[in-house]
Symmetry: D2
Subunit: 377 residues, 4 copies
């Protein structure tokens, strides 16, 4: 049995909507049944036809209202939100109030306040919500977390996430993706920090199992830009680990270069998103190890083997990582019970930590790169 879902956003000219739909198709336990694919009714209709969804609506409000009125075995069960950031909160809250569970792209909202409003709505309505921090869907990222958990104290974390698609001043012109991401009204207060820094930040917290307590950040932007397109930060984590985070969309030559190194008492590990099927693990006085992905790799944890679709040497990638998030959340919604251990998706707590990161980074940088405590936000 598949979970029926409706999508908000993701029509013509969008990028991440198609990714969500393909991820859901790979997951295999979701079925796209309805959609309000654009804020423009015309585009919404054309998109529904192109995508092949019968129940295409002119607006998300219409979708929520009309779907809620359908019989229980027909109407959608969940809503996937793939709009620009500023619409996440109103849609998510309305969807939950209308009785639907929610899966939402990151960052969860355009501001910390909006994120908290979503969390309140979830508590109030009892609905579930998952945030698609894609990179934690990779099997070897989960394996990294397992390895760190058994490796003593975390000492040092270094994460970078660099791209070059905004590296020229002219990159904002005529690019729908760039337009909303660099517009504070639609994106929120974070530029690169919100768009990709949150992924890097979330990855740090996910793999270490520790929250970042405070940071000292310096943001920058090419002339003429309102939001940051480049950021550096020092981090202090729970338990005493130190960290460094860089995110930038103006690093020439880099496509989607998310890399993380975590050093613990007993080992150091290294993962690079562009080569996601290999995890490098170093130990003192021993040959370095390359842990490879694959459903049949006996040395991987059983639950990590189980989320892979192919045996070793058959590379899975970004879409499969994304699918793992859909699959985990879908299974939870279909069965009504959470998996053992950590959920296979980012929770509202994770998402709010990311919003604090965006806010603290800006606050820190505006004050000349001073330390800001995330607990005070």
């Amino acid at each position: 049995m598949k979970l029926r879902y409706g999508m908000v956003g993701g029509g013509e000219g969008a990028f991440i909507g198609a990714v969500h739909r393909t991820a859901a198709a790979i997951a295999g336990n979701w079925e796209l049944t309805a959609g309000a694919f654009s804020a423009s009714p015309d585009k919404a209709r054309r998109s529904a036809a192109a995508i092949g969804v019968a129940r295409g609506y002119d607006s998300w409000e219409e979708m929520l209202a009309r779907e809620a009125a359908l019989p229980a075995d027909t109407r959608i069960q969940a809503v996937a939100i793939v709009t620009p950031n500023f619409l996440h909160a109103p849609v998510a809250i309305a969807a939950m109030e209308a009785g639907f569970d929610v899966i939402c792209d990151k960052p969860v909202a355009e501001s910390l306040e909006a994120a908290r409003a979503i969390a309140d709505a979830a508590r109030r309505t009892g609905r579930r919500i998952a945030i698609t921090h894609t990179y934690t869907g990779y099997p070897l990222v989960k394996q990294a977390r397992d390895l760190v958990a058994g490796a003593g104290a975390v000492r040092r974390v270094m994460v970078k996430y660099t791209q070059d698609w905004l590296s020229r001043a002219a990159d904002l012109e005529g690019n729908k993706q760039a337009a909303w991401r660099t517009d504070p009204k639609r994106s929120g207060e974070g530029g690169a920090t919100g768009d990709i820094g949150t992924h890097a930040f979330n990855l740090v917290e996910f793999i270490t199992g520790r929250r970042v307590k405070s940071l000292c950040a310096e943001l920058g932007a090419l002339p003429g830009r309102t939001l940051d397109d480049d950021a550096s930060a020092l981090l202090r984590l729970e338990g005493g680990a130190k960290g460094m985070l860089a995110c930038s969309q103006v690093c020439v030559g880099d496509a989607n270069d998310l890399q993380i190194s975590v050093y613990c008492d007993e080992l150091g590990l290294h993962w690079r998103q562009e080569q996601p099927n290999t995890l490098r693990v170093g130990r003192r006085d021993r040959p370095e190890e390359l842990w490879h992905a694959g459903s049949n790799r006996a040395y991987l944890a059983a639950d990590i083997r189980a989320i892979q679709r192919t045996p070793g040497g058959h590379p899975e990638g970004y879409l499969e990582a994304f699918a793992n998030i859909y699959q985990a959340f879908g299974a939870e919604l279909l069965t009504g019970k959470a998996a053992d251990g950590a959920p296979g998706y980012a929770t509202m707590d994770d998402a709010i930590a990311c919003m604090k990161f965006i806010h603290a980074a800006k606050q820190s940088s505006d004050a000349g790169a001073v330390w800001v405590d995330l607990d005070t936000l």
Copy 2:
């Protein structure tokens, strides 16, 4: 609009069936509508339920007969064959005779004769057939072919495809995948040569655009095995290029290590399936180049950009490569016309060349590793 298809094989305990289904789901232009998922009616029914296919049949004969009797807008339009090799020919021929197009796993049949019978049936019935030589579905493999086409004479090709899943004598016990692949009755005369050597061989012909004319091969097997599990071959290609091919399922430590190097007058290029999103290109007196995959990479050919789902740095993998084959063949079937240029899948000519490889390799090895001309087969 999606192409309705029925699957033969791919039920409980199978590997490649699920890969085909996921690939079709990613492709987006196929819809699994029917299936005869096992030779055992019980398993077939259980599998249909588990997969969520309403029109599950007890046998492929039943499926062909009953689907053919359905209205044109309801019945399946194509059949996907994912059985052990010896069933490919009877199913494919019957399917085409019943009016269905066919997509079939490789090698196309258990023998050269059976392959030729399929080709005859295709000519006779006018139906189309695609063989899923997965690795030619990778975007950078296509880019490699484009680069080679403009690089002068091909001088040397080196390809290896090594695995270790049969590296222990005991690996044949209790392993359904191993059982049929090492049984001449179900697999045909090729062991590793048929299962993976054909992929390597096809990749050579695909990237170079040249057929292999003759070979000198030496096959081996662990004690007690009937079919080869290891092979080495020298190749001579049309146009004078020399080649070397190795395939083995007893190479300890290797998962699915398909690597190819092609040297031409103007460049040398190198691709490794386990890192499929990078193509290394060397030229005389110039920095080496790494060509990266991505739908937005301006330096890739337009038709190669078009088959990718994500921009640079978001890795696609094996399932997406497989999906590209489904997508191309599906588009051809839905529109009734082939794409410009080379088809996006292996044709019967390609598949028959692979069958000649299997046969010639065995013939050569049996005679003490002497040269065999493929044209004479």
Copy 3:
């Protein structure tokens, strides 16, 4: 003709002395003629015999005095200083005052004051001095500098230098190398910052051609240690570039992992010391490039080809990089004139910048990781 030199330090149990001697032998224009290889006369004599140096002295004071008294065509012409840091300044100053040129290991001294005293002595005596910041001796590091010089503004620099040889509390026991490096009296105020952070810092300034203006640093150490063994810093460079620097000797699994990335308006480049013969260069919308070392690589600058001993594909390493420093300084001393362009070694200005880095990092960290301006030191 070779330059006769005497060595101070580098006897039994030492590490870097043998490196200097081998580097000088590879350079080919130096001849080890004298030495005071240990502070202990016994060890000094035993070491001279083992090394095969006829004019072994009991102390560096004796060496300077007696060599100065020899005929001009016999006595040493330069002194190589490979002692623990605190002896650099007294030896260097006395050597220059005795009429000898000096080549000295890094960091140039145990304190900024001592470094300035060396610089004063050089100015006063007119002698020349080179500091062996090894990593700038690598051909591709020089090529990186050339590429950056023509690539527009520098935007971002990220450098890390991580090791694990002090990663356990017990690593200080019974290890001569560890003992002096972690003793403020002999090492100075920097631990990891002085031992390896200075290399990372110097590499940033060398490749970018820009000085670091200010930094915000956080140092750490395992319990019971006086000097830092781990540091993170944000950097601000002349011209507006932002930087991040990490150095650590407690990063488990890392041997000598110095990596640098520099992003400019026109390109990004990446170099890793453990794979020193490849420089990765990324440009917008073009295949990534791998620049390879080799005396015959036509695409490398002529002066960079000239310092290599072997053609492409014959890897040179750490000792050859070190030899390049000896060779450049030796040629300058033998001919009496500097090469065109930048010197092939670190100057006192470079070395003093490194000393400011050590001092500023500690000052910043002691104050809670606040910004410190290096110009004020």
Copy 4:
């Protein structure tokens, strides 16, 4: 104490002579005392002056005669031969007859007969001779041999050695290195097979500890060339292992790309000369291992640690590998006794096996690529 040696060849315009001299300098136990650096007396004298050798002779005959007449504590003890191949045998034989030990570049001679004459001379005179098969001097190549020795039967070996410096027809013009290497009178019957194929062949025998028994080879050359510039071969080894060997000097984009993979019952290992400080080791159902070079790597065999000059992460390269051969042979000559275990250099037995390879490869190819048994040569 150092071993005094004289060099034959290696003057102006030569390549490998300088490599030998630098290797000897790094080794530290050799001292270049005499030389006949060219067949042209003028060049010989100029080269001696440039190199800084006092006892420069006009011819090798003169050097042998006059050195032999010097007092025992003054005259050279060994001769290093770095001439084109056809001179190896006359010089080596004369040198041994004059009472000198010999270190000789590879291939040991221009023909199998000449090689046997050298071996006869060594037996007759009781002198020692080492052949510089450089690549076996790499520490991790020795470690590979150790690992293979404990890994059960060898199953498969794959080696390639590819370059591109002769990839254009015009490459023979005006290139001294190319001129003699492609001239049968000076090089012998092997082109690429002799120049680099012998390295690949020797590496196979060294790492596996097994001789090649027979081969089937196909040679090729660009139009207008007398000697092969490209070769492919199937190999059969003692003990049943199968092998493949490729060597070529017309593979565009490759500099000095020697790679070897050896698969045994218990593991597979992979080494690439251009990245010589890493050895990749795969085992069934375990993370892949990267063994790294370094004098302090506890997991390396003690005798392998001992031949390295720097700790982990400080890359050594081609010259250091070469130096290891000089160092081992020098120590043997100075002490008069061989090291325990395998010698640290290629012996005449190894060298004769290489000569058989050249001869058999040509014989096989001339007959249409048929099998040739090396024992019959």
